[in-house]
């Protein structure tokens, strides 16, 4: 329960913000995060509170999508926790087994909590990651949209003049 006191009493807006950037970091493509963060974090001194380790998260669903909860199956997740020299604690959770990505996420999470680094890290790491993810989502969705059936363009044989 590292640093739990401060976090439990954090303001809802601050929690929402942190939840948002952690979500962006956790779901980033490993190579992208490394490329964006490498220079920004290379000289950051930190202590490992929890060395990166791989574990499982049980993914749950709901019967019928809306009913009772059931256990669908597990997924691999890697987590890490770090503490910066000023005491700021950062946590990283990422899908899969990339330990470097998990620790990088934790360091970036800690930096984002520092008022003096927040804006820079947000604009140089979080926003580009978010934009890349959104661009991928839109591109995939446009491909799916190309397979959408347009019933109204069908012409019945007997109506053809």
């Amino acid at each position: 329960m590292m640093n739990s006191r401060t976090e439990v009493h954090a303001k809802p807006a601050a929690i929402a913000q942190r939840s948002d950037w952690l979500g962006v970091l956790s779901r980033s493509v490993p190579g992208e995060l490394k490329a964006l963060a490498a220079d920004l974090v290379s000289d950051v001194a930190f202590e490992r509170l929890r060395a990166p380790s791989v574990g499982l998260v049980m993914v749950r669903g709901r019967a019928g999508g809306t009913g009772n909860v059931f256990n669908l199956g597990e997924m691999t997740v890697t987590r890490a926790s770090v503490q910066l020299t000023d005491g700021t604690v950062g946590h990283g959770y990422v899908q899969g087994r990339d330990k470097q990505q998990a620790e990088l996420t934790a360091i970036v999470d800690a930096l984002l909590q520092q008022p003096k680094r927040h804006d820079e890290i947000k604009s140089k790491i979080i926003e580009p990651l978010r934009q890349n993810a959104e661009a991928r989502r839109i591109e995939n969705s446009r491909k799916a949209a190309s397979t959408k059936v347009d019933f109204f363009t069908m012409v019945r044989g007997e109506n053809v003049a």
Partner: protein
């Protein structure tokens, strides 16, 4: 007997080498990489993740490589691997109504809000072998992109029917004790949570056979695919050190909402009932079979006669897991020398007694 086991040691070591050579095949041919497997044998990887019950494309690809493509062996490897990892958290239930849609069809409504999105499907292919794929180095056809993406949240078809009351609703009864097969033994009668978890990791072939049986008179159901959707859902957890939810992953799932007729009882008016299928990865046949078997296993709950195999939860759930089934069936290959010697002695003795009795009978008949 111990002597025989000891003598097998060298033979076993050598069989490992032989399997390694067989797995590699002709060394003149380039070796498969895990990314090749996870990118180009996607559906095989998806099946291994679903039945291995661990979402990790790279591990599933490794398992397939190690098993030379044998899905069941790969599933076994993945299940064995998961036992070495600690459980970090339980996720919040995934919200499939917020899925990023890649495919979404309904067989019940033509003009469904959000539209019929065919996605990547073999449904409209001719099932003719494509010899162009045998040629290497060709550029393959790419997907077309529409000008606009799909709507961000495509509503679930079943949710559209609820207000009319013609479709049974699936509501959360607030019970937060969720059955977990990875920590609890199978028990009967099973709750729907236990059944759905068991079916989600069940053997696809077994479920397909059972689902097929329900439509051929062994537990009559006339099913309609209310909706089949494929895409990515966000997995959220509440890490205990944070105390608030964070999204940790987007995972691919296939969901099937099967709608079935129900005559009603004295207490319940006639309405459609539902079966649910949800699997990791793109596993359409599995999700459809799962939803049909989920519905047939609701027989008891809906006051229907339990007369057929697919309605019998003890039969279905006890035999649906291919790691368990494979384990028992393949163990018959292991040395049973002592058991067999005992049986052999018994059969010889019984035969001697039988022959002796017959000799007496023949003698008596002759006299």
């Amino acid at each position: 007997m111990y002597v025989a086991v000891k003598g097998g040691e060298q033979a076993i070591l050598n069989t490992h080498k032989m399997i390694s050579e067989a797995r590699r095949g002709d060394p003149a041919i380039a070796e498969l990489t895990l990314t090749q497997i996870s990118e180009q044998l996607r559906l095989a990887v998806d099946r291994v993740m679903a039945e291995g019950s661990v979402y990790d494309r790279e591990l599933a690809a490794l398992a397939l490589k190690q098993a030379q493509g044998d899905a069941m062996e790969a599933i076994f490897l993945l299940r064995a691997y998961r036992t070495t990892l600690p459980r970090i958290a339980m996720s919040e239930p995934v919200d499939t109504s917020r899925m990023t849609i890649r495919r979404r069809i309904s067989a019940t409504f033509k003009d469904v809000p959000g539209g019929q999105v065919l996605g990547p499907t073999y449904d409209y292919t001719h099932r003719l072998l494509d010899f162009e794929l045998a040629a290497e180095g060709l550029e393959r056809v790419r997907a077309t992109s529409a000008a606009e993406p799909l709507e961000e949240n495509v509503p679930r078809v079943v949710d559209l029917l609820h207000h009319e009351g013609v479709l049974q609703e699936d509501n959360d009864d607030g019970n937060d004790e969720v059955f977990d097969l990875t920590r609890q033994p199978m028990s009967f009668p099973a709750g729907r949570d236990q059944r759905l978890q068991s079916l989600a990791r069940a053997d696809e072939g077994f479920l397909l056979g059972l689902a097929y049986s329900t439509t051929r008179g062994y537990g009559f159901n006339h099913p309609f695919v209310g909706e089949l959707r494929l895409g990515e859902v966000t997995v959220e957890i509440v890490p205990e050190e944070l105390g608030f939810p964070i999204a940790i992953a987007d995972v691919t799932v296939t969901e099937c909402q099967m709608i079935n007729s129900f005559q009603g009882t004295a207490e319940q008016p006639p309405q459609f009932t539902r079966g649910y299928g949800l699997t990791f990865g793109h596993n359409e046949g599995k999700a459809m079979s799962m939803s049909l078997v989920d519905r047939s296993l609701r027989a008891r709950e809906l006051g229907e006669d339990v007369r057929h195999p697919a309605q019998n939860e003890e039969f279905v759930l006890s035999h649906a897991d291919n790691v368990e089934g494979n384990g028992l069936i393949t163990h018959y290959k292991l040395p049973h020398y002592v058991d067999f010697q005992a049986e052999l002695q018994l059969v010889r003795q019984l035969r001697a007694e039988y022959e002796a009795a017959r000799a007496v009978q023949t003698k008596e008949a002759a006299e």
